[in-house]
């Protein structure tokens, strides 16, 4: 079984910031490569596009862009890989993916666009919820 076969070995720490950086990029690429599979197994075609998922992943990386401590970066990488493994192995369910990566803090990502820049606060709130 995939779950039990999974290698639980922690890779050695990155020796320099440079190495941590390359690892991060590697990880980002592998995450991007798994997007088509994720779209497929969670049947996300009607709620999100691959590019939206990709930008969401990128946003998660950028959120930690300021971190320079290699140990912390390694830890975050480890967590990220674990999450990616869970997602790809279908250890999650559709609503997890939608909740975490499709509906961000701003409603369905297909709804948030650059379209309503000039809109009033009322309209922006209106698109989000009835209660404001």
């Amino acid at each position: 079984m995939a779950f039990t076969m999974r290698a639980v070995k922690v890779p050695p720490n990155s020796v320099s910031l440079e190495e941590a950086r390359t690892r991060t990029f590697e990880f980002f690429k592998s995450a991007c490569r798994s997007i088509p599979t994720v779209m497929e197994i969670y049947n996300l075609y009607d709620v999100v596009t691959p590019s939206q998922l990709r930008s969401n992943i990128a946003a998660q990386f950028r959120k930690n862009a300021h971190i320079t401590n290699t140990k912390v970066i390694d830890m975050l990488l480890f967590k990220g890989m674990e999450e990616l493994g869970d997602v790809v192995e279908h250890a999650k369910q559709r609503h997890h993916i939608i909740g975490q990566y499709v509906v961000g803090h701003h409603g369905l990502s297909q709804d948030s666009g650059t379209k309503d820049e000039g809109a009033s606060d009322f309209l922006k709130n209106f698109y989000k919820t009835n209660y404001f």
């Binding site: 379209k115 009322f122 209106f126 698109y127 009835n130």
Partner: protein
């Protein structure tokens, strides 16, 4: 001496002055009481009763029609002044003592058969049933003596003897009078070892569930049915332990008020069938709201659990619904869970609806808005619309350059200039002062059940005469069917009809005209004849306005207050863009086939079939909205449950659409919408107040129109299904299948 000690002394010395015992002492002149000014005054005059130190039960108030009629009785040694003719139980209530009771109900006749209300009266050999005993001057009533307590305990024991021990599975549990009173007054053990009796359950129809073994034979339900609902369906059969409540023959209870027996039954014998085993009353959240299924605006409490409306029960409002509500009001709530629109939708090229985001839906509507000429835009507000959304709709359409906006049911060229021209001017409670009714083209029993209950109450109490003009109807009081068509009205107006003499002799005649007449072509002619009748009967005086219009829908009065009156008569026939705000009953047949129809509403009802875009809105249980009832009483609904899916409140949708369409409306909050409303109709902000109309019939121009010979028709075909919510309700569908008269 410390301050605390001082205070306690002051307290101790002041206490005896207020206590009931010292009241008697005021007539004794003792030196230390002489320097007390109040008691000195009391000695000089006849001693006034000391301020009541107990508050009357349930805010009971006494009204003395004639000061000579006041008598004084003593309840537990405490004197109270009450009018002659009150019962001992009422006197106790005024004195602030709540007497336990089962059969007594202050809106029903007195039966005196449960014996729970026994109290001790001095010089009477036995405890007396206080609900049936008139209070006599100087009576000394004792409610707290061992004899009274023992009597109650005994009655409880007898009642519980044959009452099943099924409180854990009983729907009344938690709000059961028997449960509460056995806790308060019952014995702590039973002595009953025989077999309990059991009674066959009766089938009273789809609304009332019966578990007749639980019945304690208080006969409240029987009295309610005969006295208030006016149906002779329920009765008492058998004697002694074989006594049963039932419908003498296999028959359903066919009253539009039948649900109220659920509330008045003190035990769980009659409970709500749709609510059976659905929830416990202590897990429900009550929201005080109002009903919108007819124009009466009955006060209700919406009981909800989480996002679901579990039941609707009445709230006391003496001016409107007293403490009853109609079955439609009470049981329509399951319609709030069915057929709901929860996402914005656009009709595809192949005629199917596709779910879209609000952004896209509004963009499509806004684009369609700009592709038509202003005069081709039409807006129709639905029966259930609140005043805020109607204001927003009117403002939006006016900004787009169109003034073709109206509320369904109001007809096309209705006169909204005079408020008295479309309201029930006597007021619902005011109808009780009438001594003659003339119902013109209206069947209050199906159009406004609570108004009908008022008329019935008046007819029973004062033997008021009722004349009825309209199609054969089943009114549950004595009435004279004068005719079916408007020509009878002409006869009455000209004094050629026997009813005219009755009308002339009546002190306060009430003429009630149905709002169905708004839809007739000859409505102006009919109204001028009715006004002539009113003048003949002297129905419009400074102290009495007896010319009434009985509206049909909750939105109508507010719509006319806000001036939702269309400019052109046949605007629908040339319309290219129609905005239906919950309007399901407009006739869209004449609409050109290329017209763009937007349906904003909460139910997938008739309006949706023709719609190009659907905008989901909130139902009355989910929003805060102002409604004006048929007598001009302004009330508001409050949100009890969250909105369904992606729905929004009505006025917000219109406000958002206005911005997308490039004509933003200047309000962002409910408060701002309301202040806009106040510039149009200031009284709409006076919640829970009835704005009386100022009116003289003379200001209206003479009408030269000819009256047609067409008889009046039934306006409400099916009492149980009149709007989107009730049509979606399964319970209402069952009712109309089983109960409406074919």
């Amino acid at each position: 001496m410390t301050l605390g000690l001082l205070a306690s002394r002051a307290l101790r010395s002041s206490r005896p002055i207020n206590s009931p015992t010292t009241f008697l002492r005021t007539i004794i002149s003792t030196p230390e009481l002489h320097n007390n000014t109040s008691s000195a005054a009391a000695v000089a005059d006849t001693p006034p009763p000391p301020p009541p130190d107990r508050t009357p039960v349930g805010g009971a108030r006494v009204h003395f029609a004639n000061p000579d009629d006041a008598i004084e009785v003593f309840v537990d040694g405490f004197p109270v002044k009450i009018p002659k003719g009150m019962t001992v139980l009422q006197a106790c209530e005024v004195a602030g003592v709540d007497i336990p009771r089962f059969c007594y109900h202050n809106r029903l006749s007195i039966a005196g058969n449960c014996r729970m209300c026994l109290v001790e009266v001095e010089k009477s050999p036995k405890p007396v049933a206080s609900c049936a005993m008139p209070a006599l001057p100087g009576m000394k009533i004792k409610t707290d003596t061992p004899i009274a307590k023992k009597a109650r305990e005994g009655v409880m024991e007898f009642l519980l003897m044959n009452h099943p021990l099924d409180c854990p599975i009983c729907d009344q549990g938690g709000e059961c009078d028997l449960q509460d009173q056995s806790m308060a007054f019952g014995s702590d053990r039973g002595r009953f070892t025989e077999v309990k009796r059991s009674v066959v359950d009766k089938n009273l129809g789809p609304l009332v569930k019966t578990v007749m073994t639980r019945c304690i034979q208080c006969t409240r339900c029987v009295r309610f049915a005969t006295e208030i609902a006016g149906v002779q369906d329920l009765g008492m059969l058998g004697r002694g332990s074989g006594e049963e409540i039932g419908t003498y023959v296999e028959k359903l209870m066919t009253s539009e008020l039948s649900g109220n027996v659920i509330d008045i039954c003190p035990v769980g014998a009659l409970t709500s069938k749709p609510f059976a085993f659905k929830a416990r009353n202590w897990e429900l959240k009550g929201t005080e709201s109002i009903d919108v299924t007819d124009a009466v605006g009955s006060n209700i409490r919406i009981d909800s659990r989480g996002p679901e409306v579990m039941r609707i029960v009445p709230r006391l409002n003496e001016d409107i619904n007293e403490e009853w509500i109609s079955d439609k009001t009470r049981f329509c709530y399951d319609g709030l869970k069915r057929q709901r629109l929860n996402d914005p939708m656009i009709r595809d090229a192949d005629g199917r609806f596709k779910t879209v985001s609000w952004r896209d839906a509004l963009a499509v509507v806004a684009e369609a808005f700009h592709q038509v000429k202003p005069t081709e835009i039409v807006g129709v507000a639905g029966k259930l619309s609140d005043a805020e959304s109607m204001m927003a709709l009117k403002d939006l359409l006016n900004k787009m350059g169109s003034n073709n906006v109206w509320c369904e049911g109001n007809g096309l060229n209705v006169n909204a200039d005079l408020r008295s021209g479309y309201l029930l001017n006597s007021g619902i409670s005011g109808l009780e002062n009438a001594d003659l009714f003339l119902l013109v083209g209206t069947q209050p029993r199906v159009e406004a059940a609570m108004v009908n209950a008022r008329i019935r109450k008046t007819v029973l109490a004062t033997q008021a005469k009722v004349g009825y003009v309209g199609p054969p109807a089943d009114l549950n009081y004595n009435h004279e069917h004068l005719g079916t068509g408007p020509e009878v009205l002409t006869q009455i107006a000209e004094g050629r009809h026997p009813f005219s003499s009755l009308l002339k002799n009546a002190k306060n005649p009430a003429i009630v005209v149905g709002a169905g007449i708004f839809e007739r072509k000859d409505k102006d002619a009919i109204f001028s004849v009715v006004e002539a009748i009113a003048k003949q009967g002297n129905a419009i005086r400074p102290d009495w306005n007896g010319l009434n219009i009985l509206l049909l829908n909750a939105a109508q009065a507010a719509a006319l207050d806000l001036g939702l009156v269309p400019e052109a008569d046949n605007s629908l026939e040339t319309a290219k863009f129609v905005y239906l705000m919950g309007a399901d009953d407009v006739n869209l047949e004449k609409l050109p086939s290329d017209a763009f129809v937007v349906y904003q509403g909460h139910h997938g009802d008739r309006g949706v079939y023709r719609a190009n875009v659907i905008l989901p809105a909130a139902a009355f249980s989910e929003k805060e909205g102002i409604y004006v009832n048929t007598e001009g009483y302004v009330q508001q609904t409050l949100p009890a449950v969250p909105t369904v899916g992606d729905a929004r409140e009505d006025w917000k949708i219109i406000r958002a659409l206005s911005e997308v369409a490039g004509v933003p409306l200047p309000y962002d909050t409910v408060g701002a919408v309301r202040s806009r409303m106040s510039t149009v109709a200031p009284h709409l902000l006076n919640l829970d107040e009835r704005e009386p109309t100022t009116f003289t019939a003379e200001v209206k121009p003479k009408c030269s129109e000819k009256m047609s010979k067409d008889p009046f028709t039934n306006v409400v075909e099916n009492f149980y299904m009149t709007d989107a919510i009730t049509r979606a309700s399964k319970i209402m569908a069952q009712c109309s299948a089983l109960l409406s008269k074919k």
